[in-house]
Every structure is written in structure tokens, then in C-alpha cells.
């Protein structure tokens, strides 16, 4: 019978049976459990006082239940009404419940605790009703507030919309197909409000237009044949990280004149914009359109769902093989005929072939290899960085053209340098180093440890030899010897 006794506080059975409750360890554990429980009482009390706070989404916690050691059960903490959560409401309800009160009483009885302290671990039953009322009130308030917020947001959006429509109506008469890019560019230029007139770049990745403040860097290469940037439908960009501007947008801006709502991540205030020019290219399209209809015009774009501030690279891939380049050139020709040429974008590829071709649209000169002439011509905006000016020494080509790197080139000037400048340690140095390493491990107190092996000695040098002495240091032997030698010589001389 006594074997059946299991203490839920200590989580163990005890052969002593009920006497287990008198043991020291058990009492310690009971006190610890009560202390922990008091901590859990806190939020419940708060809840009962001022009603449960209403939250929009789940609070960040690992477990959503509390363990009640009296009832030996897990009780849910919060009450959920759809998405909305009443913080700690269920827990407070549990503490008010009669069942819980009974169990608290039992617990105190079995564990021989002070009965007067029971009240700390339960809540009054009357408070249950008041809890209900308060929770209702809080919920109402919450819903009201959220509605209000939504209304405000809606009104804001409507305002912005209105402004847009005004703009578009005002400028739709002025817009021309060719000046799309002009207006685009000027829009971009004016939108950056810090006085530098750095044109902001727009990238359209995965169907969302991102307007951000990273400026266009050097490597913007326009269309090689007419010096303007064109959005080419159906042309796949081979360079990695190429951001392709959709042609569809351009067409949309041409076609549509009704404004659509557009969600921005940036703040476009009407004052900042130069209203006299045309609307930005994305104005004619709706954000929704862009999202929902990626369509065939989006070529080679990775569908990213996050706003990635990627720099726009107007790059025509010049590394195409001759055959493909030819085909792309013909494509370009076709497009070129469709569009007029005037562009104000000042990034110009110093492509002599392009200039020659642009002069005569449709003519193609296969002799001049455009690959030889790829390089950065000018910097539109440096983004706060230092601009380096480079002189014209593009004779040998560069990385883009795939020419021989300078360190592999045979140059006449290198003969002036020292013949073999050895970089790093030589084999001898290595050997010496290894020797030194080995010697470091030897006993430093060994005989002749600090003997200088490499010093030059005169011809008359004699090693330290301890003669047959009974006393005296060894250098004496040398002196003695020298004396003897001199003595002999003198004797000999005599």
C-alpha cells in the first residue's frame, strides 16, 4: 500500500508513504514550487485588475501553457479569438475556478502547510465575472482602434492616389515615346533630395519596382548602337546579377493613362518631383499588375520576394560569342528601328563601333571588334566615393575584353629591374631557420651553447684546451702555450 505513494512535487515514489511529506527535501521542493507559482500569479492578477490586454498576434514564447502544481494539469495561458489574443485570460479564469480552489486546499492539507497562506495561490471567484466584463471592454476598444488605424491608412493612400492622377492627367499630353527615358532620368535626378542630384536607380526585380538611393555606378553600358538605354524584350542578360528592366513597363506607360494605386517603400512627396516632366515609367502600371503578371516580358529575373536594393546595371553583355553577338546585334537593329534615338543619359560607351553605327542606323560594320573598346567612359554619380581619373591607355585592352594580363605580358621595361628579385625566404634561409628551430630545443646550458661558430679567427687561433693542470682555468693553457712558443723562438733566435 505504501508502495503506491507517489509525490508529484518531488516526482518520485517513496516507500515511507505519507511520511515523505515531512522530509527535508520534500519541504524544500514544495517551497520552491510555491515560489514559482507566485511568479505565475503576477500576470493573472494584473489581468484581473485591468482586464486582459488584447494582442494582435502571438506573443513570443516557447510554450503557451502553464503548469498548475495543485491541479497537476497544463492550463492554457491566453484566450484566442481568431487572430486576436486575450493575454493571460484563460490562466486567470483557471485560478478563479472552484476546481482550482479545491485542489489548493487539498495540496495545503496533504503537505502540511499553513492554511492561512492559501489565498496567495488563488483568485476570488467574484473576480471571474469582472474579468469577463473587462475583457469584453478591452476587446471592443481594440477593435475600434484597429478600425481607426485602417481608416487613416486608407485615407492616406487615397490622397496619394489623387495626387498621382492629377500629375498624370496633367502630363499625359506631353509624354512622347522617346522622352520616356528623359523623363525617367529627370525624375530620378530630382527625386534625390540631398542636393547632389544623384540619380537614384530603379530596379525592377521579380515584378516589384524598388526605388532607393544607391546611385548608378560606372558600369552602366547603354545600347551600343544608339547610345541610349533601351529595354529590350526577349534579350537575355548573360551576366550574373544583371537586373533587367522590363520592357512591359515602358509600354504600359505609353499606353495607359489612368492612374493606379501604387504601394511605395519610399516617400515620394510631390514637392520633390519635377512635375513638368513626364511621369516615371512605373506610374502607368499598378503595383498589382507588376506583382501578378510577371509575364513573358520579365526575362531572366529571379523572383525575389524581398526588397533587395540592387544597383541597376544597364549592361549590354559584350562578352557574347561572335555568333550570338551577331544575332543580338540584329535584334538590336530591329529594336532600334522601332525607336527614336535621342537620349540624355550621359553614360556613353566609348565604343567606336557604336558611334559609327549610330550615325547610320541599321548599318553594321563587322571589321571593328567592339570587344576591344569596352571601358568606363564617365561616372555619372559616384555615391560619395572618390572618382579616379584614368588616362587613355586602353591600347592593350582590359579585363572586359579578356586580354593578356600585365603580369603575363613580356615587357621591355622589366630588364631595367634587378635580375632576380627573390621574394620571400630562399632555400638557404629556410635551412637556417630549420636549424635554428632545432637548436632552440636543445639544452641552453650545454657546453659551448653560445659559441660563435661563424666568427672569423686569425691563423694563430688556438682552441680552448685544458692542459694537464691541476688547477687554473683553460685559457691559461693558451697563454702558457704562447709563452712557451715565444720562449722557444727566443731561444732559437739566441
Amino acid at each position: 500500500m505504501d508502495d503506491d505513494f507517489y509525490c508529484h512535487v518531488c516526482h518520485r515514489s517513496d516507500e515511507r508513504g505519507r511520511k515523505h511529506v515531512y522530509t527535508k527535501k520534500h519541504k524544500e521542493r514544495v517551497n520552491a514550487a510555491l515560489r514559482k507559482f507566485e511568479a505565475k500569479m503576477q500576470p493573472a492578477k494584473q489581468c484581473v485588475l485591468s482586464g486582459p490586454t488584447i494582442l494582435k498576434c502571438d506573443p513570443p514564447e516557447v510554450v503557451d501553457k502553464f503548469w498548475c502544481p495543485f491541479c497537476l494539469a497544463e492550463v492554457k495561458k491566453h484566450e484566442r479569438l481568431g487572430q486576436i489574443i486575450a493575454h493571460f485570460k484563460s490562466w486567470a479564469e483557471h485560478l478563479c475556478s472552484e476546481e482550482h480552489h479545491k485542489r489548493v486546499h487539498e495540496f495545503f492539507w496533504t503537505n502540511k502547510l499553513d492554511m492561512k497562506k492559501r489565498d496567495k495561490y488563488k483568485l476570488n471567484q467574484e473576480k471571474l465575472e469582472s474579468l469577463e466584463d473587462k475583457s469584453k471592454k478591452n476587446l471592443d476598444k481594440f477593435t475600434e482602434d484597429s478600425l481607426q488605424a485602417i481608416k487613416e491608412e486608407a485615407s492616406r493612400i487615397r490622397e496619394v492616389e489623387k495626387r498621382r492622377s492629377v500629375l498624370q492627367a496633367g502630363s499625359s499630353a506631353q509624354s512622347k515615346p522617346g522622352s520616356e527615358i528623359d523623363s525617367f532620368d529627370s525624375e530620378l535626378c530630382s527625386l534625390e533630395g540631398d542636393g547632389k542630384r544623384i540619380p537614384a536607380s530603379v530596379t525592377i526585380v521579380g515584378g516589384r519596382a524598388i526605388h532607393h538611393s544607391n546611385p548608378v555606378r560606372n558600369t552602366v553600358n547603354p545600347h551600343p548602337y544608339d547610345g541610349s538605354t533601351r529595354y529590350h524584350p526577349g534579350r537575355e542578360m548573360n551576366s550574373s546579377n544583371a537586373n533587367i528592366v522590363q520592357n512591359k513597363i515602358r509600354h504600359d506607360t505609353l499606353s495607359s493613362s489612368t492612374p493606379h494605386t501604387m504601394r511605395h517603400d519610399w516617400n515620394l512627396s510631390s514637392e520633390e518631383r519635377n512635375i513638368s516632366h513626364g511621369p516615371p515609367p512605373w506610374a502607368g502600371t499598378s503595383y498589382k499588375d507588376l506583382c501578378d503578371t510577371p509575364g513573358p516580358s520579365v526575362m531572366g529575373v529571379t523572383d525575389s520576394s524581398s526588397y533587395r536594393p540592387v544597383r541597376q546595371v544597364y549592361r549590354t553583355d559584350n562578352r557574347l560569342s561572335p555568333e550570338s553577338s551577331n544575332s543580338s546585334h540584329t535584334n538590336i537593329q530591329r529594336d532600334q528601328r522601332a525607336s527614336t534615338s535621342s537620349s540624355r543619359l550621359s553614360v556613353v560607351n566609348q565604343d567606336k563601333a557604336s558611334s559609327s553605327v549610330s550615325s547610320g542606323p541599321g548599318s553594321f560594320q563587322p571589321e571593328i571588334d567592339p570587344l576591344l573598346k569596352v571601358k568606363t567612359a564617365r561616372v555619372i554619380s559616384s555615391g560619395g566615393l572618390t572618382v579616379i581619373s584614368r588616362k587613355k591607355s586602353n591600347l592593350r585592352g582590359n579585363v572586359h575584353t579578356g586580354s593578356v594580363p600585365p603580369w603575363l605580358q613580356e615587357e621591355g621595361g622589366s630588364h631595367d629591374d634587378t635580375p632576380t628579385v627573390v621574394i620571400g625566404p630562399t632555400a638557404e634561409d629556410l635551412q637556417k631557420h630549420l636549424e635554428n628551430e632545432r637548436k632552440r630545443k636543445l639544452n641552453p646550458k650545454r657546453v659551448g651553447a653560445n659559441f660563435d661558430h661563424s666568427s672569423e679567427t686569425p691563423d694563430e687561433w688556438l682552441p680552448s684546451f685544458g692542459r694537464v693542470w691541476n688547477h687554473g682555468p683553460r685559457w691559461r693553457s693558451r697563454k702558457q702555450y704562447k709563452k712557451e712558443v715565444d720562449g722557444k723562438l727566443k731561444k732559437g733566435n739566441r
Partner: protein, 149 residues
């Protein structure tokens, strides 16, 4: 035997050997190649040369060719073997009168190996005088009269 052992012919070479041998016992046998006892010693040296290569460097010196050292080391009986370590002369107590050099030959190879090893160990520990492991009975008994002591 002694044909294949390295020899030092001039004072300069001996100086060179003393100065350049690092962290190894330098064994200089002073004697003559034609002397019978020297030949015995050379035999032992040649047999143990390879075994002692890590611990020592052994050279044969002809006493007639380097009179400076013959005088300096006070060599009167051959073969005489002088030991150096890092340019320092090592004295060994053989139980005889002369601790500065080993006079005579060894009875067997092991004696020689033991002697070199003991010198090496002592030198590595910083001792300039070492006790010989060879039984004095195996050594040549000689008698010398010294002047000026």
C-alpha cells in the same frame, strides 16, 4: 680503413673543424696512419663511424702535419684522441693521469661508442668534465713525467 675516414691535414682545417662542428662531439684522432695501434683504432672508428654519425664527427689528424696542435695538445703518445664540443675541449676522467685526451686504442667498439655517448650527454648538460664509462683495466697503462707542475 683509414683510407675512407675523413682527414685533416692543416692547422686551418683543424681550426675549421673545431669551429664549425655544431652540437656534435668532435673526435680528433692524432696519430699516424701507418702505426699499428693507430690502425687498430682506425678500424674501430671506421666500424662505428655510421652509428655515431648523429652524435659526433670524427677526423683523423696526422701528428706530423700539424705540429702546432701536437705541441698545444701535448701529444707524446699516439694514438691520442681529443674531444671537442662546440669549440670547447671536453675532459674525460679515465682513471689515468691525463684527462685531456684519450691515449691508446679501445678494446672493442662498444667502449668507444659508450665513451662518445657519455661525452655527448655530459656536454649537452653543460659539463666540461665527464667520467669515462670504460673499465680502466681495458685502457693502456702509460706513465708520463710532466714538467713544470
Amino acid at each position: 680503413m683509414s683510407l675512407f675516414l675523413p682527414k685533416l691535414d692543416t692547422k686551418k682545417e683543424v681550426d675549421q673543424a673545431i669551429k664549425t662542428v655544431e652540437d656534435k662531439v668532435l673526435v680528433l684522432r692524432f696519430g699516424r696512419d701507418t702505426d699499428s695501434v693507430c690502425m687498430q683504432l682506425d678500424e674501430i672508428i671506421s666500424k662505428t663511424f655510421a652509428d655515431l654519425a648523429n652524435m659526433s664527427k670524427i677526423y683523423l689528424v696526422d701528428v706530423d702535419k700539424v705540429p702546432v696542435y701536437t705541441d698545444y695538445f701535448d701529444i707524446s703518445l699516439i694514438p691520442s684522441t681529443v674531444f671537442f664540443f662546440n669549440g670547447q675541449h671536453m675532459k674525460v676522467d679515465y682513471g689515468t693521469q691525463d684527462h685531456t685526451k684519450f691515449i691508446g686504442t679501445f678494446k672493442d667498439k662498444q667502449d668507444f661508442i659508450d665513451l662518445v655517448e657519455v661525452i655527448y650527454r655530459g656536454a649537452m648538460r653543460g659539463k666540461l668534465v665527464v667520467a669515462s664509462p670504460i673499465d680502466p683495466k681495458k685502457l693502456t697503462h702509460y706513465d708520463l713525467v710532466y714538467q713544470d707542475i
